[in-house]
């Protein structure tokens, strides 16, 4: 299956390039665009892993909705160019070294894990693996509690965002606003 290999390497290079672009590019707007490319490449990888529904959700929800939110905030704040290293602080110079060590360690952990199936293409798949029907059935039967907890979490996050980003005057009662100003 040389075709799958070609698609994998193309998508992997795209994903890595997108990831490096997010970190390296100075303008936050370009970083967001680079992340969109990264997410689309990851969706291709998910398709290679037979996760059709997750790939679709990745493109629609992540690369679509969440990234639009980012673009709006970057436009609101004003994406100013940031000097990559204005001052050589200790953590800034240790960051790449730490990340390199982490990557080597993770590779060792994965490849030396003793999982024999890691060198295979994966288990035999039943019919309907990764389709919306099977994912939905798992979400509503086996994983019902996490599913409902996730919906509560989304509600709490939405309320929290409204509380965080509202204007200080106007919505709050008079007494609390004065205390906050003081």
């Amino acid at each position: 299956m040389w075709f799958e290999d070609v698609v994998f390497f193309a998508a992997a290079i795209g994903a890595l390039a997108g990831a490096v672009g997010v970190v390296v590019l100075r303008n936050p707007f370009y970083s967001v665009l680079s992340l969109v490319g990264h997410l689309v490449a990851l969706a291709v990888l998910f398709l290679l892993l037979r996760a059709q529904f997750v790939a679709a959700a990745q493109v629609v929800v992540y690369a679509g909705a969440v990234m639009v939110l980012y673009v709006f905030v970057v436009a609101y704040i004003g994406g100013s160019d940031e000097p990559l290293r204005p001052d050589e602080s200790l953590i800034t110079s240790f960051g790449p070294i730490f990340a390199l060590a982490l990557g080597v360690e993770l590779c060792f952990a994965f490849l030396g894990s003793g999982l024999t199936a890691i060198d295979g293409r994966g288990a035999e798949l039943g019919p309907g693996y990764g389709t919306p029907g099977q994912i939905g059935e798992a979400l509503l039967t086996k994983f019902l509690v996490p599913f409902e907890a996730a919906s509560f979490l989304l509600l709490i996050a939405a309320v929290g965002a409204v509380v965080l980003a509202r204007r200080r005057r106007g919505l709050a009662p008079a007494g609390t606003a004065e205390r906050r100003e003081a």
Binding site: A51, Y62, E82
Partner: protein, 99 residues
């Protein structure tokens, strides 16, 4: 493609994201790098789901997406609040919880 390739790729993406979180100072870019790390985790979860032939890992990946969306909403809310209060958009100079 062997599953190991996907896992190694996810390790690389994770450490690129970690490097970004450590080195960048714009909170927007720090959030983007956190997304990178979460996505690397997602890739590993889906790869393991493929390895065992069960769809539980894909459900985990979807839940991680929900968590990431929540994190984005709160993080961007904080950034907008920082901007409204004329605070510097810089993670190194934010040292108080009550700005």
């Amino acid at each position: 493609m062997d599953v190991a390739w996907f896992l190694v790729l996810s390790a690389f993406i994770f450490c690129i994201g970690a490097a970004g979180v450590l080195t960048r100072r714009n909170p927007l870019v720090v959030l983007l790098c956190l997304e990178l790390m979460l996505n690397a985790g997602n890739l590993a979860l889906v790869a393991f789901a493929r390895m065992y032939g069960q769809s539980a890992g894909q459900v985990f990946a979807l839940i991680v997406m929900v968590i990431a969306a929540c994190e984005v909403v709160i993080g961007l809310g904080i950034i907008v609040a920082m901007y409204r209060r004329r605070l510097p958009i810089d993670v190194d100079r934010m040292s108080e919880l009550r700005g």
